[in-house]
Symmetry: C2
């Protein structure tokens, strides 16, 4: 897996069959689609938008190579019309989007695609796949960051992330949301995210005893050795670290930290901290991991457990309490006329939209959803990103995205920064003109009987 190298066949079959029908019947006028989240999970007071960079990599690199075309033809499902169109395909449309790291809420478009209907439709599946996942993880990670206050936070989730791409992109999304780094080496290489690591229990177990394991690791990694102390008896191991440090100053200097990965983390941390401090190892840091999420992290930090760093794995990388978002990529207009879906329980606002956000005293106070061309107080969240397939501006670097995310979380109303669900959700108003456009769409479309 390398970001930016995409398979054009990573799509739902119906995107191809619909494209064929659009082409064969001349439905090639301009369409506008928007990606948005219908409802926030009950466990989320806000979302952080993420994944735009990978969407742009996908769109700007979109091409059906010879092998893909041959395979499609071999299925016998597709007409010459479709195959010829795919053979010459590149993404020539416009994209407007909310910058990565921006706080967003239900019904607010994160991305708008404007392109000929078959093209705007074709990219749906992968655009959702990319925006959904990183927004999901960044939103989870932001909560863990809030709970951890100023503690060092590292993503440990690669092994239980859902596949290779999820592992690497979860590390990216977590870093955007304020994590300090990841254990996933490929994410370090792909995105320049700082990488962190300690040691596994197997390393201890392969040695005849704990002390020789510690000693060997310190010799190989002087100054970066974080020793895992819970393989057998956590406090005894901490005392051994103290004894080891007394052997000579070089060994002492080589010890960077210790890690606890099981049991009552807060309780062990307090005992271990005392042992280390009494042994003259005040500078040795204490790292905790094991089944952590924002609630467990909050408990540790609120209890003033002396943990300097926290490794959060599975529950971050799969967003275990809310592992998906109810999101969609929906047609908003076709050939200049507003459109919307009215299926039961799934009705949406019609037409291309903009989100206007107002601040007061440094905090965001309300958003207003309007037709894209309506003026409104506050600043607009969606900005032009691609025009005719070409980038409008240079992309922001990952560090700038991360800074933006931190500022966004800082500017949230205080109640939304709590881990508990807010009683009063953030106000997203709907302008009168958007109501009108939506009524217009219903008049143009078909009304329910």
């Amino acid at each position: 897996m390398r970001p930016g190298r995409d398979d054009a066949l990573l799509t739902d079959l119906y995107q191809l069959t619909m494209a064929q029908a659009y082409l064969e019947h001349g439905l090639t006028e301009t369409a506008e689609f928007e990606f948005f989240v219908r409802d926030l999970p009950g466990e989320r007071n806000f979302l952080l938008a993420a994944g735009l960079e990978q969407v742009l990599d996908y769109l700007q690199g979109l091409t059906f190579d010879e092998a893909a075309l041959e395979w499609l033809e071999s299925t016998g499902r597709f007409s010459r019309t479709l195959l010829d169109w795919l053979a010459g395909l590149t993404f020539t449309g416009d994209v407007d989007a909310v910058p990565e790291g921006t706080a967003v809420f239900a019904d607010e478009p994160l991305l708008r695609v404007r392109a000929p209907m078959p093209l705007a439709q074709l990219v749906e599946s992968r655009v959702i796949n990319l925006l959904h996942f990183q927004t999901l993880i960044a939103s989870k990670a932001a909560r863990i960051r809030l709970a951890a206050r100023d503690r060092l936070l590292v993503d440990f989730g690669m092994r239980r992330a859902h596949g290779a791409e999820a592992a690497v992109l979860a590390a990216r999304a977590a870093w955007i949301a304020g994590f300090d780094g990841t254990a996933t080496v490929a994410a370090g290489r792909a995105f320049g995210i700082p990488i962190y690591g300690t040691m596994a229990h197997s390393f201890i177990e392969a040695h005849p005893d704990e002390v020789s394991a510690f000693r060997n690791f310190l010799v190989s990694h002087p100054g970066s050795g974080i020793l895992l102390i819970d393989t057998w008896d956590t406090e005894r191991a901490a005392r051994r670290v103290v004894e080891l440090a007394r052997e000579d100053p070089a060994t002492k200097a080589a010890i960077k930290g210790v890690r606890i990965d099981s049991g009552d983390l807060g309780d062990h941390a307090r005992r271990v901290r005392r042992i280390l401090d009494e042994g003259g190892l005040e500078g040795v840091t204490l790292f905790a991991s094991g089944n952590l999420d924002e609630y467990a992290v909050d408990d540790l930090v609120a209890d003033q457990a002396p943990v300097d760093g926290l490794g959060v794995g599975t529950r971050l990388d799969v967003a275990s309490d809310a592992p998906y978002l109810d999101c969609a990529y929906k047609l908003q207009s076709y050939a200049g006329e507003p459109r919307r879906k009215r299926s039961e329980g799934k009705a949406t606002w019609a037409g291309a939209k903009q989100v206007h956000r107002e601040h007061h005293a440094g905090r965001m106070v309300r958003d207003r959803l309007t037709p894209a061309d309506e003026a409104a107080p506050g600043h607009a969240l969606l900005h032009p990103v691609l025009r005719g397939g070409e980038p409008v501006n240079e992309r922001p670097g990952l560090a700038a995205i991360r800074d933006h995310a931190a500022a966004e979380v800082e500017a949230l109303p205080e109640a939304l920064r709590s881990l508990e669900p807010t009683i009063e959700p953030y106000p997203v108003l709907v302008s009168e003109r958007l109501h009108e456009v939506t009524r217009e769409a219903d008049r143009l479309g078909e009304a329910p009987t």
Copy 2:
């Protein structure tokens, strides 16, 4: 994403730092590691093993290319010893594994790796990442298959799967567990899984009216047209399908089915079925989708809703009710001596193990966990797969794996085939000799204070 093309850097940093320490201190004797699930989620009565083929692709293709080595060197973290070793690395170890599609339970090894310590350790992160995800999805999909009885089942989950690889491998895992196909085109190409598709609401909305949308799609896809009828009014759309079919026999023949994607699916299905039947469209199939999981499918089928096919998406592809398994890849022996972890709440059985399964009257009745070399009643689940890095046998095809999975689910005790948690879990006995080996490991290792 293409299966079999892996990034050697897709690993946790500590695998590399530990490898360096192993090499520098001569800890290069043979190690045995096993992958197993510690506990089943409360919502699962059994698991279906899956993902072995991708693990073998990874191991057999493992190599650190020039660019990866240069990047590693550029970090300044690694010694010449490690970098030289990585440069010459291929997987030369032994693998024993449970065939894909086999039903497995807590504590039972799905895979054992036997290799020099640095190598056996290095592959941990990606081996877990691959076995965990497909086992997770196959186990979820098997429940949906049980609930659906003989209905056609299609994976619709690509868009909310966690990234590209998750989408493609979820389709594979679901197919193994008895799904009939997937909407994910890349999975069709990669694995030959049958692909299915209908149309989206946007297709309807782009047309001036529903009937012209239906007509255009049928002209472009005669005989495979599944018409989406819930964009505005489901029953009115069904009546329009009947009217359309009356226009001429060719149009009638072109209609393969209809799909309902919102509202009370069972209620709509009954009304729509009646409209179609009364309109002479008894042969037109009815496809339902929208927020389905095994419970919703079971409700529909138990209520005898006239649905022929079901599309299951997000809740399958992220295993939404239990989005991860508590699994591990643990050191079992080093240099011929048994090893185990004894951290609080995470103790395991020591030494290389085998699972023996007994059947009675076509049903599995009990498993027995033993040291790998102990004879026991029943048949052994783990088989040699690689020796010295070379395959022992030809790999089974995906169809054979799928047949095996179906036979395994058929052979489960009846109580385990229920969607409800069993009161009495499947019996996994532990042999007396395995108790002895584990005591031996504790004697050789360190005892808690």
